[in-house]
């Protein structure tokens, strides 16, 4: 059994009279420690899948299993607990708390987890040892995303979910962030999922899941993922 399994997952949104199927019978598996890139055009259901996996949304039907646990069956509080302990999230717009310094933003996450890492060490790892006491507004976009990543990995999660982490960043910074994610996955043996609409970065992944029309249309496995530095787009 795989570390993560999506089994016939469907997600429907009701907008008034119309029912929109965001996910339509999606199936895929991810192994522990894999760096997975999910690609597809806008509206293909990538984010929905990620949200369901991250416990931020619930599936209409189907099963999602993470480390043998059926996430789709979790109720409110357990679902929060799941998010709390098992999931690290990185958003496109970083979603840092503006009123907290870099370190405090990380602390915000670590203080609620049992096996959290030392915030300062994590920040060092993401290369922000000198900006720890800066507020988000005093940091560049890349730096902010690093803080976000640090916040996510400091929780020591089972899964690191990144939704368009480079979407708001320029090429170079984006690349650095992707590298950080790749490194983290390799170094910490962390399962990382990156959503992107940019298929060009797929080579960095162990597995690439192609989304189209609300379902995982194609799953590729890269036997030899490329380091990010080597990828150009």
């Amino acid at each position: 059994m795989s570390y993560i399994e999506f089994k016939n997952v469907c997600k429907e949104y009701k907008m008034g009279e119309i029912t929109i199927k965001a996910l339509n019978d999606t199936n895929f598996q991810i192994e522990k420690g894999e760096l997975v890139v999910i690609v597809g055009p806008s509206g293909a259901g990538k984010t929905t899948a990620l949200n369901i996996l991250g416990g931020m949304d619930t599936a209409t039907s189907g099963k999602v299993l993470v480390d043998g646990r059926e996430v789709t069956k979790l109720k409110n509080k357990a679902l929060i607990g799941y998010r709390r302990e098992d999931i690290g999230f990185v958003f496109q717009f970083y979603n840092l708390v503006q009123n907290l310094t870099a370190k405090e933003n990380v602390e915000l996450a670590t203080q609620i987890c049992k096996d959290s890492l030392n915030p300062e060490e994590v920040l060092k790892k993401v290369g922000l040892e000198n900006r720890m006491n800066n507020f988000p507004s005093q940091l560049s976009g890349g730096e902010q995303q690093r803080v976000a990543i640090a916040r996510a990995i400091a929780k020591n999660p089972k899964l690191l979910l990144c939704d368009e982490p480079t979407g708001a960043l320029d090429y170079k910074t984006g690349k650095q962030i992707l590298k950080l994610l790749q490194d983290t996955a390799r170094r910490e043996n962390m399962t990382v999922l990156i959503i992107t609409h940019n298929g060009a970065i797929s080579p960095m992944a162990d597995k690439v899941i192609h989304f189209k029309n609300g379902t995982a249309e194609k799953i590729e496995i890269n036997e030899n993922p490329k380091p990010v530095e080597d990828i150009e787009w």
Binding site: R84, F89, N95, F135, R151
Partner: protein, 1077 residues
């Protein structure tokens, strides 16, 4: 305006209905409260105005100490500006029900002050009455029952005692409300325990004592054109009142003269009658005396005759007696002669006798000699017979015998001549004696004859005398009769005199009374002197004052809230604004959407608020006041002015706030606008510099603190909201505390007497002593203090206030009964001989201080200057205390006790009442007032302010709720990404809630702290505006009130937090994180 934009506006409302509603609610509350509270006071005044107009309530009332006459009415009618003058009869009566005595005002139903019929019908004839419904419920009576009203007999103008009513058994035919007694206070009475309990109305026909009216009610021309208590109304009334007062003196004099005249006339009549009677009596007596005198003369005459007769008779008797006596004298002369003769004869006889005796003696001598001879003879014979005899002897003897025989013969011869002489003598004697006898016999006959004559005379005399005696006796009886008559006459005389003197005394008394007919006193009163009306108007003023403070707070808060809401909205729609700007819409067009939004919210909310406010608030407040005033239903008015002002204000505030927040955004270029607004920079707060504190704070606390300082506007808003809420609540409670502390302050701290007994004026020393001693004997009374009290005006030259002057008989006795304490030093002040003590409220009103000189004006308008020694503590009404030693020279009058203050042992209500009733029965007592009754009455008045407090608290709570709810909404919407993020991070609902509410709680605490301070000052302010002239509110806030305020504020915060909890739970992480708007 473009159609699309219009559509957008309405869609916006639909989408952000919560925000719309919250603005609408603020407008609703703001306008509602403003309009509602502002309208309440006018509504209340309008209600009483309509009620008074409908019931034709007087504008000016005249009462007099000696009643009012038809002439008074005529004179008043002549005054310019007077429309109608009505005289009525109002008097206090007793009704006894189940051994309980109640005092009832008995009022004649007339054209003025018509009672409002509640049930049944008005009385149609003299044995019917209508009564207030309270009476029925409290005494378990119903319509159709009969009650007996006892009214003291009264004197008519002729001074005769007459019944006041024709019929005292009255059938209750209905219940009414009297416009004269809209509050529970029915006034004082000289009967019973001194308070009027109820009122009842009777038909005019039932009035028997119709000589004088008790009240005159005046309707002023055009007064009905104005609203009662309005400035115009008051001016008009004052104008007329002055005119009525102008004729006051003249009418008072006229009434006095009338009374004196009628009394004098009556006196004169009585005098004439008295004189007539006196004359009559005198005449009768004189006649009787004449008769007696006549009788006496007759008797005298008769007596004289009798006497004369007696005299004549006596004379005759004397003559007769004389004759008889002469006769007797003759007789006695004869007798004497005879006796002489007799004695001569007797002498002769004696001589003869003597001769005879001599002869006899001789005879006896002879006889003796004879005897001796015989004896000798015999002896001789014997001796002769003796044979033995010698012859010698014999011879001798014989010789002797011879001798003897010779002798014997001689002797015998002698004897014979002697016997012859004797016989001769004896014969002479017999002869003489015979002669004598004959003389005697003759004498005797004459005597007898005389005696007979005398006897017959005597007989005649006796009978004559008897006759005279008889006549005398008759005279005597007549005399006796006359004496009796005389006696009776004197008795009658005495009686008549007594009667006359009595009558005379009465006359003198009557004269005295005439001289005592005092100048009646007119009281010209307007509606403000009706206690119910006055307190009602005062209450409307209090509400009006509160209506100023209150809505102001609401408006401020509403403005701030809409400012935050609209700013937030505009900020949220930055991109859209930018887009529209880029599309070429003008600033105004863009702004119009938000202005429409805000306008709609404020206008709809405002109109709704007006509708509800104009109806609900006055109704609610009325409901509370209804318990105290009987006026009927409130007349609700849609007050366009207040409505428009309120609406305009809220519209201005909200739309102004919108425009304010728009201006900032609209200045920016489209490009800037379309980019997401750079989030507010995180900042270190000052507290972080204080590392030793900061280090100690937990992570979440640091976050909280930093957040608080980050959103300064919200921080301020929340604090202001909470502050407002807490301070309003505290002010409310504070008001309640102040109000409820008045009574204990006045009646425990200052006045500590239990009973105030007013004495009638003009008591003499013994009457006074009597009542004092009687009270002293009462076991229930422990202390009595004698004082003189009078009302007076006090002035500083410009302002004038009414005060009560209290002068103790001995200044030391006041302590413990009335505690005079200096307002500043709080030390007990002893009265001195040249300064007065003035209570502090009046000192404040007159703007005078210790050491200043003020003027006291008595009822005659004399002004007396006095120096203020101390300003002293007092809470109800105004007082001036001065010592007797100051009073007497100042007023040039002698001190005279007219009020006794007593301290009693602990008594329950019933015992107190019965004690008061007992004392009231004393003839020297004019009124008894119990402190407990005053407290109760004041308490009732105070209760009305308590309702205001309730309104304060409820609305403050409502305000707090709206503010907190709104802010919490803004807070959530402003920080929704942040909240979504932490939710994604795995914060439990509770943790998310804490994350947010920790700030609210902290702000609430700060708000409460400042609010308590604010409340303290607000309370100060409200008390300042609400304080009635006659009262001194103590500005105390009970510690418990602080606790309540805190708890209530916290309570509201908790409610809001509870709502927030669910709002937070509902935050959709996905939606919030999708993109930056």
């Amino acid at each position: 305006m473009k159609k699309a934009l219009m559509k957008d506006s309405f869609k916006e409302i639909k989408n952000t209905y919560k925000r719309f509603l919250s603005i609408l609610l603020m407008a609703f509350l703001g306008v509602g409260f403003f309009a509602g509270i502002r309208a309440t006071s006018p509504d209340m005044i309008d209600t009483i105005d309509k009620y008074y107009k409908e019931q034709n309530v007087y504008d000016i009332q005249v009462v007099s100490t000696l009643g009012l006459t038809n002439e008074d009415i005529t004179e008043i009618s002549k005054i310019q500006g007077v429309e109608k003058v009505t005289g009525t009869y109002e008097i206090d009566g007793k009704i006894e029900i189940d051994d309980k005595e109640t005092i009832t005002k008995v009022i004649e139903i007339g054209d003025a002050n018509i009672p409002k019929l509640l049930e049944g019908r008005l009385p149609e004839n003299k044995n019917e009455c209508v009564i207030e419904s309270n009476f029925l419920s409290s005494n378990n009576r119903k319509i159709g029952d009969t009650i007996e009203v006892n009214i003291e007999k009264t004197k008519n103008d002729e001074g005769e005692e007459i019944e006041y009513l024709n019929q005292k058994e009255l059938k209750i035919v209905g219940t009414v409300e009297s416009p004269l007694y809209i509050s529970r206070d029915r006034g004082n009475s000289s009967l019973g325990a001194g308070k009027v309990n109820y009122y009842l109305y009777i038909n005019k026909d039932n009035i028997n004592a119709k000589d004088v009216f008790t009240n005159i009610y005046i309707k002023v021309k055009d007064a009905n054109k104005y609203q009662t208590s309005s400035a115009k109304y008051e001016d008009l009334i004052e104008e007329t009142k002055v005119k009525v007062e102008d004729i006051k003196e003249e009418r008072e004099k006229a009434r006095q003269e009338q009374l004196i005249e009628s009394a004098t006339k009556k006196l004169e009549e009585a005098e004439t009658e008295f004189n007539n009677e006196k004359q009559n009596a005198e005449k009768q007596i004189a006649e009787a005396e004449a008769k007696i005198a006549d009788g006496k003369t007759k008797i005298e005459k008769a007596e004289a005759e009798v006497n004369k007769n007696e005299e004549t008779a006596n004379k005759e008797f004397k003559n007769a007696e004389k004759k008889i006596n002469e006769g007797k004298a003759q007789i006695s002369k004869n007798e004497t002669e005879f006796a002489k003769k007799e004695s001569e004869a007797n002498k002769e006889f004696e001589n003869l006798e003597n001769q005879k005796n001599e002869l006899q003696e001789n005879l006896s001598k002879v006889e003796a000699g004879l005897n001796t001879v015989n004896e000798n003879y015999k002896k001789i014979l014997e001796a002769l017979s003796n044979p033995n005899l010698s012859e010698e002897q014999r011879e001798l003897l014989e010789k002797q015998k011879q001798q003897l025989e010779n002798e014997k013969i001689g002797l015998e011869q002698n004897k014979k001549s002697l016997t012859e002489g004797i016989n001769k003598i004896e014969q002479g004697i017999v002869e003489g004696k015979l002669q004598l006898e004959e003389g005697k016999k003759q004498l005797e006959t004459a005597k007898t004859k005389l005696n007979n004559e005398e006897a017959s005379f005597k007989k005649t005399k006796t009978s004559t005398l008897a006759k005279i005696e008889d006549a005398k006796k008759k005279i005597q009886t007549s005399k006796e009769k006359i004496a009796k008559g005389e006696q009776e006459l004197t008795k009658q005389k005495q009686e008549a005199e007594e009667k006359l003197s009595e009558a005379e005394e009465k006359l003198i008394d009557a004269k005295d009374e005439i001289s005592k007919i005092e100048m009646p006193k007119w009281y010209v009163l307007d509606r403000n002197e009706n206690s119910g009306y006055a307190s009602f108007i005062q209450d409307t003023k209090s509400i009006k004052n509160i209506g100023i403070v209150f809505p102001a707070v609401f408006f401020i808060v509403a403005t701030l809230i809409s400012l935050t809401s609209m700013t937030r909205m505009v900020e949220e729609e930055r991109t859209q604004i930018g887009t529209l700007k880029a599309l070429g819409y003008s600033k105004l067009q863009i702004a119009s959407k938000y202005i429409i939004y805000a306008s709609l919210a404020s206008i709809i909310g405002g109109i709704l608020g007006m509708c509800v406010g104009f109806v609900l608030l006055p109704k609610i407040i009325w409901m509370m006041y209804e318990m105290m005033y009987q006026i009927g239903d409130i007349s609700l008015n849609f007050d366009w002015i207040y409505g428009t002002i309120g609406l305009g204000l809220i519209f201005g505030c909200i739309v102004g706030a919108t425009i304010y927040s728009l201006i900032k955004e609209l200045k920016e270029t489209p490009a800037t606008l379309m980019r997401p607004k750079s989030p507010k920079m995180g900042k270190r707060v000052l507290l972080e510099r204080v590392t030793f504190i900061w280090k100690r704070l937990s992570f979440s606390r640091k976050v909280t603190i930093r957040n608080i300082f980050r959103y300064k506007k919200r921080f301020l808003m929340t604090i202001i909201g909470i502050l407002g809420c807490t301070s309003l609540i505290l002010a409310g409670f504070g008001l309640k505390d102040s109000i409820s502390s008045i009574m204990p302050s006045q009646y425990e701290k200052v006045f500590d007497y239990d009973m105030q007994i007013s004495l009638k004026s003009g008591l003499n020393e013994s009457q006074f002593e009597e009542i004092v001693n009687k009270l002293k004997e009462q076991e229930q009374i422990t202390k009595i203090v004698k004082t003189y009290m009078t009302t007076s005006k006090i002035t500083n030259g410009e302002l004038e206030e009414d005060v009560q002057i209290i002068v103790p008989e001995e200044k030391e006795t006041l302590e413990g009964i009335i505690n005079i304490k200096d307002i500043k030093t709080k030390e007990t002040v002893t009265l001195n001989d040249n300064e007065i003590c003035l209570t502090d409220k009046v000192a404040e009103l007159l703007k005078v201080k210790q050491g200043d000189t003020i003027k006291l004006k008595d009822s005659e308008g004399n002004e007396k200057e006095a120096k203020i020694g101390n300003i002293v503590e007092n809470y109800i009404y105004h007082y001036v205390y001065m010592s007797k030693e100051l009073y007497q020279p100042l007023y040039g009058k002698d001190y005279e006790t007219n009020v006794l203050l007593t301290q009693n042992i602990d008594l329950n209500e019933e015992q107190e009442d019965s004690l008061a009733t007992d004392i009231m029965k004393e003839k020297q007592v004019s009124a008894v007032s119990l402190t407990s009754t005053s407290i109760k009455m004041m308490d009732d008045t105070m209760k009305s302010l308590n309702y205001v407090v309730v309104i304060l608290i409820v609305s403050a709570g409502l305000l707090a709720f709206v503010v907190l709810y709104n802010l919490s909404n803004v807070n959530i919407s402003e920080r929704i990404r942040e909240l979504a993020t932490i939710k994604v991070l795995g914060f439990y609902d509770r943790e998310v809630y804490d994350y947010i509410t920790r700030e609210t709680v902290l702000l609430t605490l700060i708000g409460i702290a400042i609010g308590l301070l604010g409340g303290y000052f607000l309370n100060y302010f409200i008390i300042g505006t609400c304080e009635i002239n006659m009262l001194r509110f103590s500005k105390i806030i009970n510690p418990l009130s602080y606790v309540y305020s805190i708890l209530i504020t916290i309570g509201f915060t908790l409610i809001v937090n509870f709502v927030t909890y669910f709002a937070l739970k509902k935050i959709d992480m996905i939606e919030s994180l999708k993109s930056v708007e």
